[in-house]
């Protein structure tokens, strides 16, 4: 097979001069409610774009819809509204088209112990993608598997061919999973909590690998995580998701150093080791089958509860008006109070 990546090529590879590599427009995914209850709005109107060679972190708590959004972006779920486009082309939900798509966009799952078959060798695990996509076996396959393993940091690759998952450490298993994604030479990987089950010292090594793959191969990545530290470590842009909607977006520096949405601020304030006064939200994220009216965060919002929103004259809007869906690009927060504060130059220090 002809490698799209020349070995040792410098600089990101460009597929297209303009336009995002992967884009979601007005994306909604709903599931039928349980026992005839209201439908579950897991993804409730999302605009998201990932450029060539860009690493975007999609951050949120369990149940916010981030994994559902990732599955919809991969074509594993058919959206109920809106569309997903790759390199400018809308996804066609037909088996053959989806198969071709999944060759260019690969999924890396969390928990490598669960996603590797214990009875397959490392070689088989990595070669599986090639076989699924009908790439002929033989010497080309061996070369491709060796190259993928080497890129994932398992060197010399031949030494790992015959090993079984139980003979590897957690970090090595995660590298095998990544090699399995790399072997098809995708342009984008979607990684769902890629380091959540790994030890801290190994976590840093795997994140460094994702950064290196971007720098050396121009591989774009959407990293789905609840870990803001991970976003700070490797991402270019970040999208914060709450109850099916992106509530804040921008570059990592913008969002994590100067958060505007009260939810992002609260998440940052409870990061351990920070030393800042934590804003601990009470309760748990509400049910996506019962998205509150008005701003979906207003029932837990510390800015509304403290009267800050009232003083800014937006409290009514918080309770009754759903903030507009954020555009895929740029710096923004879906918050009436932040919008009001933004109009007054020094109105932002209150919260």
């Amino acid at each position: 097979m002809t490698g799209a990546y020349a070995e040792g090529a410098a600089g990101p590879r460009k597929t297209e001069a303009s336009g995002p590599l992967l884009a979601a427009t007005g994306l909604r995914v709903t599931f039928p409610g349980r026992r005839g209850g209201p439908e579950v709005r897991a993804v409730d109107g999302v605009e998201l774009a990932i450029g060539t060679g860009e690493i975007v972190a999609l951050v949120g708590e369990s149940g916010c819809g981030k994994s559902t959004l990732a599955r919809a972006l991969l074509g594993l779920l058919t959206p109920s509204a809106g569309s997903v486009a790759f390199a400018g082309e809308p996804l066609a939900y037909r088996a053959r088209a989806l198969r071709a798509y999944r060759r260019r966009v690969q999924l890396v799952l969390q928990d490598p112990s669960g996603s590797l078959n214990p009875r397959h060798t490392v070689y088989d695990a990595v070669a599986e993608g090639l076989r699924v996509h009908g790439v002929p076996g033989g010497r080309d396959e061996r070369t491709a598997v060796a190259r993928a393993l080497a890129r994932a940091g398992l060197r010399p690759p031949e030494r790992f061919f015959g090993r079984y998952p139980h003979e590897l450490s957690g970090g090595q298993r995660q590298r095998v999973v990544i090699a399995g994604a790399l072997v098809l030479e995708p342009e984008l990987i979607v990684a769902d909590e890629p380091v959540a089950s790994l030890d801290a010292s190994v976590r840093g090594e795997i994140l460094a690998l994702l950064l290196r793959l971007r720098d050396e191969l121009g591989l774009a990545a959407l990293v789905v995580t609840h870990d803001l530290g991970l976003a700070w470590n490797i991402a270019d842009r970040v999208a914060v998701m709450y109850l099916g909607r992106i509530v804040e977006t921008g570059t990592v520096e913008e969002v994590l150093s100067a958060p505007r949405h009260p939810y992002t601020r609260a998440l940052l304030s409870v990061l351990p080791g920070g030393g800042a006064e934590p804003v601990v939200l009470t309760g748990e994220p509400p049910d996506p089958a019962r998205v509150p009216d008005g701003c979906r965060f207003h029932v837990r919002c510390p800015v509304l509860a403290s009267g800050e929103a009232e003083r800014a004259g937006v409290a009514d809007a918080c309770r009754t008006r759903d903030p507009a869906v954020l555009p895929a690009h740029g710096r923004d927060a879906a918050c009436h109070w932040a919008a009001a504060a933004g109009r007054e130059p020094d109105g932002r220090d209150g919260g």
């Binding site: 840093g204 090594e205 700070w232 080791g273 748990e284």
Partner: protein
């Protein structure tokens, strides 16, 4: 007298040539009303240590050393006395509340059970106390009739904490109590634990792989590697200015959001933690150590004084005098 004093604790799984040393000589002390954090990665022996404190290990484990709880040696206790001490003297909160609760019993009954067994309370008295405990951990007493599957992960962890508090123990050992939880729920649970420790004067041993969580929550912090404590000291000092190269690497592996030094610079440590069944000679950290000297492959290091506040580290680069036995002194 300290609430908890661990001296020369060793735990070995199996016998003969295939014996695996999981804990290899640990000395630690804890005063009532304070919190000791134990940090380390998978396989470092921290969970084995936690279980050893209450002799909850499988029969293949052999223990040596002493564990003094209020001056009484837990390892030498007779079975009947040990049963009384578990729950009433010391209790344990395990990781993964999902699996530690009985799926077919209502949570109120599960909280009441130790009260009926260990305190001989009446059914009505135990029910009343269970309702109180639920309120203490921030759950409405009306939830007593719920089954575990009806609760979220954070709520289940609160139930586990209520159970641990049931018999008003002097010591609580919490093994990764917030690991599977989201950051916001984790913050709620940690605040709850902090408040209970302060209000009730409980001693808490908090075990986690997350050094940042421990630095925030604990008074003192011990870092374990390959079955030994390689660094111990005031929690904030160990997190911000570790003296052992492993402590430094572990601390650097937790990114500080907003700190330019960790932006686009994830830091790990090459290699993997050693297999307890095949530990390297000398200092067990030397194969991964960025500052190892030639002698480190042969000679292991004792804990040495590394700074004020009884800060200790077991490294050849730490110049202080070797320390014998438990560090003991509070800062």
């Amino acid at each position: 007298m300290s609430l908890l004093e661990i001296r020369g604790l060793r735990v070995t799984y199996g016998r003969g040539p295939s014996a695996v040393p999981a804990v290899r000589g640990v000395d630690l002390t804890l005063a009532a009303g304070t919190t000791l954090g134990i940090a380390g990665e998978s396989g470092c022996g921290k969970s084995t240590l936690a279980l050893a404190l209450l002799r909850l290990l499988p029969s293949s484990a052999r223990l040596a050393g002493t564990v003094l709880l209020d001056g009484e040696d837990v390892l030498g206790m007779r079975w009947g006395r040990l049963r009384t001490v578990r729950w009433a003297g010391a209790s344990i909160v395990f990781q993964g509340a999902m699996h530690s609760l009985n799926a077919v019993h209502r949570i109120g009954d599960q909280i009441a059970e130790p009260l009926l067994v260990h305190r001989r309370e009446t059914a009505a008295g135990a029910r009343r106390r269970a309702a109180e405990l639920l309120e203490q951990v921030g759950l409405p007493a009306s939830r007593a009739g719920a089954y575990p599957h009806e609760l979220s992960g954070g709520q289940r962890q609160r139930v586990m904490i209520a159970m641990a508090l049931a018999c008003a123990p002097r010591l609580i050992v919490a093994d990764e109590p917030t690991t599977a939880l989201d950051v916001m729920i984790q913050a709620q649970i940690l605040r709850l634990i902090e408040r209970l420790v302060a209000e009730q004067g409980i001693g808490l041993v908090l075990i986690s792989h997350d050094l940042a969580v421990l630095a925030d929550t604990c008074d003192r912090l011990a870092v374990m590697y390959a079955g030994r404590v390689v660094e111990e000291g005031p929690a904030r000092t160990v997190y911000d200015a570790a003296a052992h190269p492993y402590g430094r690497a572990l601390s650097a592996a937790f990114p500080r959001v907003g700190d330019p030094a960790s932006r686009r610079a994830p830091r790990g440590l090459p290699g993997d933690p050693p297999d307890p069944a095949a530990l390297p000679d000398g200092c067990t950290f030397h194969p991964r150590c960025p500052v190892a000297l030639a002698g480190c492959a042969e000679e292991d290091q004792p804990l040495r004084a590394a700074g004020p506040g009884a800060h200790l580290a077991a490294c050849v680069h730490v110049a202080g005098a070797p320390v014998d036995g438990p560090a003991g002194g509070r800062p």
